[in-house]
């Protein structure tokens, strides 16, 4: 069956949240089968660089890595136009330098050691708790302040709203007052 480009995108948007990935990623029973030479997913998204919020079309291979990025002609702000950074989203996805495993640096060490998530996360929680407990201030004079001034959080303007909300909520629940990010600088 011949499918036009825009129809293809609309079809792919209706299946598996926008990805035509191998069966283990797709929602059961919803995958659309098309006569392609190679399996490719295409989806519409928004560029992660500046604050104009241009529309991108990203193509993904069977391993889920981006093989191509181009402008989305249907996006009302950029009408398919892009700049050097947004087309390079492809290289963000495929870079061999991307961090793939948690890394740990001991005090005074000159290099990294890889660490499993299940080992590093409890260590991190221990550090946070020990510092919080040692420095927590319940009161300043007569006023309840319930804070620690010895832990700071920085970030993150490239993060999604939901990530930022979770950070804002968690840090205040821990009693942090030093909470800052790119917007200040």
């Amino acid at each position: 069956m011949i499918v036009g480009r825009r129809q293809f995108l609309k079809l792919s948007a209706m299946t598996a949240g926008g990805m035509l990935l191998p069966a283990e990623f797709a929602l059961a029973g919803e995958q659309v089968s098309l006569p392609l030479h190679k399996p490719i997913g295409e989806a519409q998204t928004i560029c992660p660089y500046c604050s104009v919020g241009c529309g991108l079309i990203v193509a993904t291979g069977p391993d889920g890595h981006i093989t191509n990025t181009e402008g989305d002609p249907d996006h009302v702000t950029n009408r398919g136009a892009l700049d050097p950074k947004s087309v390079s989203v492809t290289q963000l996805s495929t870079s061999p330098h991307r961090l793939r495993k948690p890394l740990y640096r001991a005090p005074g060490a000159s290099g990294w050691q890889e660490m499993e998530w299940d080992e590093i996360l409890p260590r991190i929680a221990r550090r946070i708790k020990d510092t919080r407990d040692a420095t927590f201030e319940e009161k300043e004079g007569d006023v309840t302040v319930n804070r620690t001034r010895s832990i700071a959080f920085l970030g993150g303007a490239a993060n999604n709203n939901e990530d930022c909300y979770a950070a804002s909520k968690l840090m205040r629940a821990l009693g942090l007052v030093y909470v800052e990010h790119q917007a200040r600088i």
């Binding site: 949240g17 926008g18 989806a43 500046c50 604050s51 104009v52 919020g53 249907d74 009302v76 702000t77 136009a81 700049d83 050097p84 950074k85 989203v89 870079s95 991307r98 961090l99 495993k101 948690p102 890394l103 640096r105 001991a106 005090p107 005074g108 590093i120 996360l121 929680a125 550090r127 708790k129 407990d133 319940e138 300043e140 006023v143 309840t144 302040v145 319930n146 804070r147 620690t148 001034r149 920085l154 993150g156 303007a157 490239a158 993060n159 999604n160 709203n161 939901e162 990530d163 909300y165 979770a166 950070a167 909520k169 968690l170 629940a173 007052v177 030093y178 800052e180 200040r184 600088i185």
Partner: protein, 811 residues
């Protein structure tokens, strides 16, 4: 932005100052060009150098970095003297007519200061800056704007000193260039015309940054450009979601939705907190703060938060000072801050006085970084300026999914929220940030349950259950707001338990609504996309634009309430009729406000009713502030940057009198050192390139971008290069009081020497993207910048400081 990107096409004059949209917000040029091609709009650029945007401009005027108030003040003077202001708009919609306290004095009388200055505390007592009130407690006004004590006349007197000749002497802008800019932009004061001001870090990254923004807002109020299509005060924000991250309250002084963080001194109890907010709100919409604040506490601590326990108000940490970026790093330097948790930031490159900030990192006990590459911050301990054996910081780097590899929403500079699905697979074991927070929270909760510890209740009673693995859409529902129980009023069911709120008007102060961010309320509520598809509002991709103004009301969701242009009451006159038919946003139809936007005004309040012209609903008096207090005064006044080559020509008050000067390790190789022109005679600024992004974490690791801009350069005028014997392409050393770096000299005609009060002052510029990690590496320009900030926000003065330049291997 008060307006938005596509709206630029409706402008008659696009004034760019302290920004470079062609370079840093490239798609905006589509709409700027449309305004030029279809409306005959003029593009006017004011910048220390001829930027890529300036090459497209009809008018370009140079100005020395750090003199924006002098320039814009000069424009205000021009508008007032030549009567180019929009009189009816100014009379009805601003506080121009209000009579000010007769004891008020300004810089014209007090040599650069306002009445009430305390030199010991370096702060102002504002009691002489108040309105005169009548017997009912309402501001006294003179609607003829003639009374010498009215704000309008005080404005006139204040800016009378900012003549074109003064602008030339201070800014280095030739008089004819200044007048060309002033004349072109002042033409938008005509009713029915609109001009837009586009600005960015070139305006804000100064010790007078807040007043820079204030003077632009004042100019726009005078010209009647706020609330108009093609008008407004438009910040071109940086990162893809810096708007959202700010909205989410990731600054020490705000909680989500700009609800202020409670202070120990002013807000010891919930009732004190709410009383203060309601009082400050006056007639403005923030009188509803109790509803938004209670809904936030209900979202955070759920059913544990009740009226009886003041909704667990005390679980929120209270602040007792300024904990913003610069004080934060000063506290880290002294060891007061022991642990640092970072999500997607690279302060080793982006922080001011970066050598000092990296030294501060080395004092930490531990640091957690959620990142996509091993950046200069992750590896600060093995940087060229560090000896790892003597850095005791324990570092945990957690590999993170990037923006394409997780679902969630982001907000454009035009306040438009767009949802992104997960479209790619994260490499290796990289994880979503929400998963990381969830796991660490659960570990902490487990530890506090098992061991107890310091006041564990806020952690143990936190309303945190987003599923396992966490579902980002459950977070979205909480941000949006939902009813916690069924609420019936006058036999009508307002909401049922778990149902999403449609907007913030539904927020209540009794625990029946849980809403994480009131200005976003409705962003996840299902709505029609104009083509019959009903889905969460921020996921919509409806392309209908009924008005033709580019509002696109069915695409995504703009906060607040899907309002696309703020203060749109001002787009209609006092009778409720649009100033111009091709700029019709909203109008009064006899019963209600209607039209091409969500009215930024009570929908059924008639134009001739009481408050019918209180067009600025967030302000305590409902009026735009031509006379409005910030920490250094109710009117903007020119002060020189902390590092300046010249004396202040407006007064003997050299610098902003309220800024904090830091003194850590002063005089040492790494310290809070301030340079003087005898040692560092050249003005320097930092800026960005189209091909790189911020501190380089998302660009200097990518081969295509590394190839286009591989190295740090310093941009130098031909005249300065000739003076110093520097050839294009050769390596030079750039030094400031805080450090020295090596760069390639790019000798261009884009910078020209300035004539400041008759003598030559040179300026250079550097991109600040570089660091020692990645594929494209170089020294960090922020090794040179000062650790001083704005008088209100403490945003660092990256844009104007002093350096010297010499050829590598010789001076």
């Amino acid at each position: 932005m008060t307006n938005h990107w596509v709206d630029l096409k409706n402008s008659d004059c696009i004034f760019v100052i302290g920004a470079n949209p062609a370079e840093n917000h490239p798609a905006s040029m589509l709409w700027i060009n449309k305004a030029i091609d279809e409306r005959g709009a003029k593009l006017v650029v004011v910048d220390p150098r001829v930027t890529r945007t300036a090459t497209r401009a009809h008018i370009y005027a140079p100005l020395r970095s750090g003199t924006d108030i002098a320039f814009l003040g000069g424009m205000i003077n021009y508008v007032l003297q030549n009567e180019k202001y929009h009189r009816e708009y100014v009379t009805h919609y601003t506080n121009a007519s209000v009579l000010i306290n007769p004891d008020f004095r300004g810089p014209a009388d007090l040599d650069g200061l306002f009445s009430g200055y305390n030199p010991e505390t370096r702060s102002y007592d504002r009691s002489t800056w108040t309105y005169q009130l009548d017997e009912n407690g309402d501001p006294k006004r003179d609607l003829s704007l003639q009374d010498p004590g009215c704000a309008f006349q005080l404005l006139k007197r204040h800016f009378a000193r900012y003549t074109p000749e003064v602008v030339e002497r201070v800014c280095g802008t030739p008089v004819d260039k200044f007048l060309a800019v002033a004349e072109a932009f002042a033409a938008t004061g005509e009713p029915g015309k609109s001009g837009t001001i586009l600005y960015a870090m070139g305006q804000t990254q100064h010790t007078v940054g807040s007043q820079n923004v204030s003077v632009m807002a004042m100019l726009q109020l005078l010209l009647g450009n706020i609330g108009m299509p093609g008008g407004g005060v438009n910040a071109l924000r940086g990162e893809s979601n810096v708007q959202g991250s700010t909205d989410m309250g990731l600054l020490y002084n705000t909680l989500p939705g700009y609800v202020p963080t409670p202070t120990a001194k002013g807000d010891p109890t919930l009732s004190a907190y709410l009383e203060a907010r309601v009082k400050a709100a006056g007639k403005g919409y923030l009188q509803n703060t109790p509803k938004f604040f209670t809904s936030l506490l209900t979202a955070w601590w759920g059913g544990n938060a009740t009226a009886e326990n003041d909704y667990l108000y005390d679980y929120l940490p209270k602040v007792s000072g300024n904990y913003s970026w610069i004080p934060l790093f000063e506290a880290m330097l002294t060891g007061d801050i022991r642990g640092l948790w970072i999500m997607g930031m690279n302060p080793a490159v982006s922080g001011p006085n970066a050598r000092l900030e990296r030294k501060a990192l080395a004092q930490l006990d531990w640091m957690i970084v959620q990142e996509i590459f091993d950046t200069e911050t992750c590896s600060f301990w093995r940087g060229p300026d560090m000896d790892p054996a003597s850095v005791g910081t324990e570092v945990f780097v957690l590999p993170a999914a990037d923006a394409m590899e997780k679902a969630g929403s982001i907000v454009t500079s035009g306040r438009m929220i767009q949802w992104r699905p997960r479209v790619a697979q994260a490499p290796g074991e990289a994880a979503d940030d929400i998963w990381i927070f969830d796991r660490i929270y659960r570990e902490l909760r487990g530890l506090y349950e098992a061991e107890g510890g310091a006041f564990p209740e806020p952690v143990l009673q936190l309303n945190w259950d987003y599923g396992s693995p966490p579902d980002v859409e459950l977070v979205a529902r909480e941000i949006n707001g939902y009813w916690t129980r069924e609420v019936v009023e006058d036999s009508k069911t307002l909401g049922t338990a778990g149902e999403l709120q449609s907007g913030f008007a539904q927020c209540r102060d009794d625990g029946s609504t849980a809403c994480g961010l009131w200005i976003f309320a409705g962003y996840f509520y299902p709505r029609d996309d104009g083509d019959g598809n009903v889905l969460p509002s921020s996921k919509r991709r409806g392309t209908k634009d009924p008005s033709g103004l580019g509002q696109y009301p069915f695409w995504g969701w703009a906060w607040p309430a899907n309002r696309r242009i703020l203060y749109n009451r001002c787009s209609a006159d006092a009778s409720g009729n649009p100033w111009a038919p091709d700029k019709a946003l909203i109008w009064w139809d006899g019963e209600k406000w209607t039209g091409n936007d969500v009215p930024d005004f009570p929908a059924t309040r008639a134009p001739d009713a009481a408050g019918g012209d209180d067009a600025f609903i967030m302000k305590a008096d409902g009026k735009g502030g031509l006379f409005a207090a910030l920490n250094e005064g109710p009117l903007p006044e020119h002060y020189e940057p902390v590092e300046s080559p010249v004396q202040n020509l407006l007064s003997s008050q050299q610098n902003n009198p309220v800024i904090k000067i830091w003194n850590s390790l002063k005089g040492e190789a790494i310290g809070d050192n301030i340079g003087t022109p005898d040692q560092f005679p050249i003005v320097a600024t930092t800026y960005r390139l189209a091909e790189h992004w911020q501190a380089g974490g998302m660009s200097r690791w990518l081969p295509w971008l590394a190839e286009t801009q591989p190295e740090l350069f310093v941009e130098v005028s031909r005249e300065l290069a000739s003076e110093k014997g520097i050839k294009n392409g050769e390596r030079v050393i750039v030094r400031s009081a805080r450090g020295e770096i090596e760069a390639v000299a790019m000798v261009t005609g884009r910078f020209r020497p300035f004539r400041i009060d008759g003598r030559v002052v040179h300026q250079v510029g550097l991109p600040w993207h570089y660091g020692w990690r990645g594929l494209a590496t170089g020294d960090s320009a922020n090794d040179l910048t000062p650790h001083v900030g704005d008088g209100n926000t403490m945003m660092p003065e990256y844009k104007a400081f002093l350096v010297d330049v010499h050829r590598k291997g010789g001076r």
